[in-house]
């Protein structure tokens, strides 16, 4: 009987090694996006936007058109692309510093304008590429190189929950958070990513999928322990689930009388 390959590298990923650290969940997230592009047959229509962060070199790993954005500006670049090329599938792939710090205005406003793009948000509670500094998503008491005594909520405030934040906007969108700490979590994260891209194929709405991820190197623990820490410490604060869906009931003030110009 012939051997049938049931799992292998997707076409939307190049045959190459990445520079990511051993056990870094970037690799898993990249693969989930690439598998989705393959399964929905989007590779030839896709345009990705890479951030500044560990995944600044994402354009070397994906096998589709790609641009490199300035720090935090990927949603703005994606807006420009999607408005000019509405038939292309435009997605950004961003980390916590890029999206939740310097890029906060850009992500809120692209979501609020309802740009028909897909955003993959990698939340690993730290700044990876620059060597492990505090991020807007760093947990209270978590030690990083710029909060060596642990994040002090009296000085730095609490972590920002981007998925919840964006879900309060009135414009319809698909906002969800997934987990990568175990294989079943990875499978359900993939479902969320697939739904997000499906909405873009339908030209329906803005999507953001936040993925609770790890940074073994800067957290200072082994890859498996990092997955475990993301489960025990991050998930209680960054809950998984769908926070907003374009099929949600519209709030009252969006009734036709208020809708204005159609």
């Amino acid at each position: 009987m012939t051997v049938q390959t049931i799992f292998s590298r997707p076409d939307s990923l190049r045959e190459c090694s990445t520079h990511y650290c051993p056990g870094c969940t970037h690799g898993i997230s990249h693969r989930l996006v690439a598998e989705t592009l393959d399964e929905l047959n989007l590779r030839e229509r896709a345009i990705g936007v890479a951030p500044v962060g560990c995944s600044v070199l994402a354009y070397k790993y994906f096998n589709c058109d790609f641009a490199e954005a300035a720090h935090g500006r990927a949603p703005a670049m994606a807006t420009g692309m999607k408005r000019c090329k509405p038939d292309n599938i435009v997605f950004t792939y961003q980390g916590d510093g890029d999206l939740a710090s310097i890029g906060m205005a850009e992500i809120i406003h692209s979501a609020n304008r309802g740009e028909k793009i897909t955003v993959i948000f990698i939340n690993n509670a730290i700044y990876g590429m620059t060597g492990g500094q505090m991020a807007p998503t760093t947990l209270p008491g978590q030690v990083t190189s710029t909060c060596p005594f642990g994040r002090d909520v009296n000085q730095a405030g609490y972590p920002i929950r981007v998925a919840e934040l964006l879900s309060t906007l009135a414009t319809p969108s698909f906002i969800a958070r997934g987990r990568l700490d175990n294989p079943m979590g990875v499978a359900s994260a993939k479902k969320l990513i697939r739904q997000a891209f499906q909405y873009q194929v339908e030209g329906r709405c803005f999507s953001l999928i936040e993925l609770v991820s790890t940074c073994p190197t800067n957290w200072g623990i082994s890859p498996q322990k990092a997955l475990d820490w993301s489960r025990t410490d991050m998930l209680p604060f960054f809950k998984t689930g769908v926070f907003k869906s374009p099929d949600d009931d519209l709030p009252a003030f969006k009734s036709p009388e208020f809708a204005g110009v159609k």
Binding site: V3, R9, S17, T18, P22
Partner: protein
């Protein structure tokens, strides 16, 4: 009879597959690959069920899973 292929020079020795395998039949070699990592290997091929969980958790797309006939699908992927 399911079988996995580890692309050894792609592997970075993170050991996530070793922990994730439900049959616990993966281990690390004591030989270094071209990058200087100990890489993953199948320790007990006879007990592989072809669930591909090792492939799913691998961050380096270093594992390919092949089956001949039956395989276990532990969850939809």
């Amino acid at each position: 009879m399911p079988m996995i292929k580890v692309y050894k020079d792609q592997c970075k020795g993170c050991e996530l597959c070793v922990h994730a395998c439900p049959q616990q039949i993966l281990g690390m070699t004591d030989e270094l690959n071209a990058k200087g990592y100990f890489y993953a290997q199948m320790v007990d091929p006879g007990r592989c069920i072809g669930c591909a969980i090792c492939g799913v958790i691998c961050p380096d797309w270093a594992i390919e899973v092949g089956v001949q006939g039956t395989r276990y699908v532990l969850f939809e992927y």
